[in-house]
Structure formats: C-alpha cells, structure tokens
C-alpha cells in the first residue's frame, strides 16, 4: 500500500464500524471535544473507578480519521489506570507529530502516518485531548 495513502483499509474499517460508539449510562466523567476548523465533534463518556478507566464510549459526528482514532482509543484505554492513560495520550500525540509510535500498542500504530498529513493531525488527536479533558470533569451530581 502506498505510504502516502492516508485512508488505509484497516483505518476505514474502524471509522465505518466504530467500536464503543454510542451513549453510556452512569458515566462518571465526560467531556466534549470539537475541531472548529473542520467540524469534528465528539462527546466522550468514561467510567472511572478506583483510579482506573473501566469503560469509555463516544458519540458525535466526526471524520474518518477522528472516528477511527476514537474507536481505537476507547478500545485501548479500558482497564488502564489513569496514569497509564495519560502516558498513552502523551505518546500518541508524539506519534501524531513525528511518526514514531514506539511503545504504543500496535493496533494504534495504524495511525502512524498521520504526521505526513499535518492538517489531519488534529483529527487524530482530538479524541485523546477530549479524553484528558474528560478525566478532569466529573459528571455533575456524582
């Protein structure tokens, strides 16, 4: 496959049939993310128990890259400690900027070409930024 092809087969699969897509009941944490320039909008809902993410789901209307990234992300972070999630988010952003994804789970590395498309980096990173923001925002009433 062409290294310069952005939309790889596996990535398209994730965007066409996103995992963990849909509302969550009894979320403990949540946040909205959006990319005003192109119109990506996603809402992230988390269940955090004893310092770990026990569940993560998203809704919204976003491009293929953002949707695939959110789908991969929500799959990957379930069960991790909050600290491990932060580390992962940091590493992901690094990969999105530089292309080097060492230490990231292999599945996520399908996005390792995104740095070749600077105007799409934001799309891939948006779910992760929204995740970090959600971890800081407890759902009201809890």
């Amino acid at each position: 496959m062409d290294k310069n092809e952005l939309y790889q087969e596996v990535l398209l699969q994730y965007s066409k049939r996103p995992k963990n897509f849909g509302p969550m009941e009894c979320a403990t944490h949540a946040a909205d993310g959006h990319n005003a320039l192109c119109g990506d909008e996603i809402s992230l809902a988390l269940k955090i128990e004893n310092g770990s993410l026990s569940d993560a789901r998203f809704t919204g209307s976003a491009c293929a890259i953002c949707t695939a990234s959110a789908s991969l992300m929500t799959g990957e972070v379930k069960g991790l400690s909050c600290d491990a999630v932060k580390k992962l988010a940091h590493d992901f952003r690094e990969m999105a900027r530089t292309g080097s994804g060492d230490g990231l789970p292999p599945r996520i590395q399908v996005l390792d070409r995104i740095h070749l498309f600077p105007q799409r980096v934001k799309c891939a990173v948006l779910p992760w930024e929204t995740l970090l923001s959600a971890m800081e925002h407890e759902v009201g009433g809890k």
Partner: protein, 406 residues
C-alpha cells in the same frame, strides 16, 4: 463570455495536484487572481510605490493617483454617489466592525433592537452580538424557511415593523446559493426609518450591485473575493451618515490638527476613517481587478457562475444520501451539501488528492449550519474561470468518495 480566454489569464490553473489538474471550487472563501492584476501590482511596486497623500514627489504622486483611482473604481462598481463615500478597510470584517464601533456605538442604546438574519456569516453576526451585549441591546433574527430556501419575508416584515434601530443582512450568503431581496428589504426598513447595513462580500464583483437602486445605507465588501488582492476591502456609507460618525482608528492622516493638551480635530470621510498607512499596493491591484471584471461583464459572470452551480446541484441530487442546502434553483455560484455517512472533512481531503479544492466545515456560519442540522458540510463555489468539465469532475470524485467511505 469566452471561458478558455478567461482561463488563459489565470496562472494558478497551471498548478497540478498529484499530477491532476487543479480544480478550484473554493471561490466563496477567496478567488484567484488574473495575470493582469498580478502584473499591475508588480509594476506598481517597481515604479509607482511610495506612501500616499503626504508626499510632494513623483512616486508619492503616482501612488496617490493609483490609490484614489481605485477609490473611484469601487465607487463606480457599486454606483456610489461620491467617491468620498468609499472607505478602504482590510475587508468586509473590518468594515462591519467599523460601523459597529462608530455608527453603532453612537446610535444603539440599552433596550434597542438590532435585526439580523439567521443566515449571517460570523463577520456580520459577532460584531453586532458584541455591541448588543455591551450596551444592553437585543438581537433578533429574521428566520430562514425550511432547509434555508429563503428568508421568511413575512416575519421579516413583522420584525421590521417593530422598528429595530438597525437591520444588518447578507446580500448573498456564502452558504445557501440564494440572493436575498435586498431592495424589498431595504424598502421595508426605510419605510420604518430603520438604518440598513448590507454584507455584500459575496455579491459585489459577482453581479451588478447598485446601492442607489437597492437603497441600503451601508455596504461592505472584500477585494479578495473578486479577483483582487487580500488586505483590502471597502465600506460604503451614505455621506449623510458618514458625516455624523466619530472616527474608528486614530493615527496619522485621519487628523487635521493634533495637540498635546487639546482634543484633536479630525478630517472628513474618507480620510477620517483611514488612519495610518493604508493598503496602497492593494488598492492598485483591486482597481485593476475591477476593470477586469467590468470588461468581462458582471452579468456574464453572474449567469455563468449560477449556471454551473445549477448544473452541479442537479447532478449532485442524483447521488444517494446527498443533501443540498438552500433553494432548488441557485442564484449564486454556491452549492453547500452534506453526504450521509461521509464526513465533509474526509470529502475535502479525498477531493484534494484528486486535484479538487472544496471547502469543508461550518463556513463561518456556525449557528446557521447547526440549525440546518449539519455542523460540518461541503461547499463547491463557482466563479468566472470554472467550467462544465469541472462540474463533471466534481460529480465523479464525489461518487468515488461515496463508494470509498460508505
């Protein structure tokens, strides 16, 4: 209108994307420039450039001539009564902010109403919202009919009969492919003594616009949307109104007498509103762009652009799950659409890989696009150098995108 001859005059058409010809359908964001505008600007910098007005030397005279003759070109283009009614700004956005800060702050008070429409670009929305919040005025909106096919003119009449202080509306929106009935709206407003501001960013240079016939009080437009350079645009206002307005920006050229310890005495329009070194080079370029457009003929340009937009929308409607905003029949070169199951951002990226420049997003009209149920949509906008073959390519690429992404 001889399109091949026109196309020869636009150097950007020589560009390739991944060996595809470049198809530029992002004209509503900004238009490309013909060779003669580019050359006019080079020549100006090579042999006519200096600061304007203040110099008693050859280059300053040449620069002042070019600058002031551009003012006459703009006045002629929109049928202003006098060139002193033309104020050069950076573009439409600055022009709206100028009126908001001068006429607006002077006349709009707590409890007053500013009437806008639901289809405004952020440029003709946010300044008024800011003013309203600051002084305690209210904003009301003339609503759109379903799917943005038109303004609700009945409600417009009702809202105008409640005598807002100002009615600011877009002439041709950058999203819906329609033209608002400016003359009728201004007549309704004038009957009630309401001042009117018309955002003409998408109409001036794209069709005949005659402020006398339309009867508005202010008009704003941008050179870069009509084959001119970035960095310049104009506010036109009736001289009676301009004469009562305080300055906007303060600095050199707008002042007659300045003192350490007494209030300065300011000059009259247009100098009063053009503080500091103005966009000189840009005026030279814009003047040339206007001469070019008038030679081609504004009616020709309008009918060509609208014909392509109509052709495109007819053929787009045949794509399953594709939805076009605005009326059935296009009055401008603009076609905004959404595609079920394919995000606008992906469409634009996919199209670009094939040489086609589309716009994706909210088109600086977030509230409108949200109301239309589509925070992100795609837009194809046509201008004088576009062709039917480019419409074919648009359709082919979008069909390909649908099968790729769905």
């Amino acid at each position: 209108m001889d399109i091949p001859t026109i196309r020869e005059q636009f150097p950007f058409l020589g560009e390739k994307v991944n060996s595809h010809d470049l198809i530029y359908l992002d004209n509503a964001a900004s238009s490309q420039k013909p060779d003669r505008v580019i050359r006019r600007m080079s020549r100006f910098l090579e042999s006519e450039y200096a600061n304007v007005h203040r110099g008693i030397h050859l280059l300053s005279e040449r620069a002042t001539d070019a600058y002031e003759s551009a003012r006459r070109e703009v006045a002629g283009l929109i049928h202003a009564r006098d060139e002193s009614e033309i104020i050069f700004t950076r573009g439409t956005t600055e022009a709206v902010n100028l009126v908001m800060n001068t006429w607006g702050r002077k006349h709009i008070k707590a409890g007053d109403t500013i009437l806008l429409t639901e289809m405004e670009h952020h440029a003709n929305l946010l300044p008024w919202q800011h003013l309203a919040r600051e002084v305690g005025a209210r904003i009301e909106y003339v609503p759109i009919l379903e799917n943005g096919t038109s303004l609700d003119l009945e409600i417009a009449a009702t809202l105008l009969s409640k005598k807002p202080k100002l009615f600011a509306f877009v002439h041709v929106p950058n999203t819906l492919g329609l033209e608002n009935p400016a003359k009728e709206l201004c007549r309704l407003a004038r009957d009630q003594g309401i001042t009117t501001f018309m955002d003409a960013a998408q109409s001036v240079g794209h069709q005949e616009v005659d402020v006398q016939e339309i009867g508005c009080d202010f008009l704003a437009c941008s050179a870069h949307k009509m084959c001119g350079p970035s960095g310049i645009g104009a506010l036109w206002g009736r001289s009676e109104l301009l004469a009562t307005m305080p300055p906007f920006l303060y600095g050199g050229e707008m002042v007659d007498r300045a003192f350490y310890d007494k209030p300065a005495i300011y000059r009259d329009s247009p100098a009063r509103f053009e503080a500091g070194t103005p966009p000189i080079l840009e005026a030279a370029g814009w003047g040339e762009a206007i001469r070019f457009l008038r030679e081609v003929g504004l009616e020709n340009i309008q009918s060509h652009s609208a014909a392509l937009a109509n052709l495109a929308s007819q053929r787009l409607r045949a794509i399953e799950g594709l939805h076009i905003f605005g009326p059935e029949k296009r009055a401008s070169g603009i076609v905004t659409f959404s595609m079920e199951g394919v995000h606008a951002h992906d469409v634009a990226f996919f199209a670009n890989e094939r040489g086609l420049a589309l716009r994706a997003g909210h088109h600086c009209a977030q509230p409108l696009m949200r109301k239309l149920g589509s925070p992100a949509s795609s837009r194809a906008s046509f201008y004088l150098y576009n062709t039917e073959a480019e419409v074919d390519a648009l359709i082919a690429i979008l069909r390909e995108a649908v099968s790729f992404f769905r």
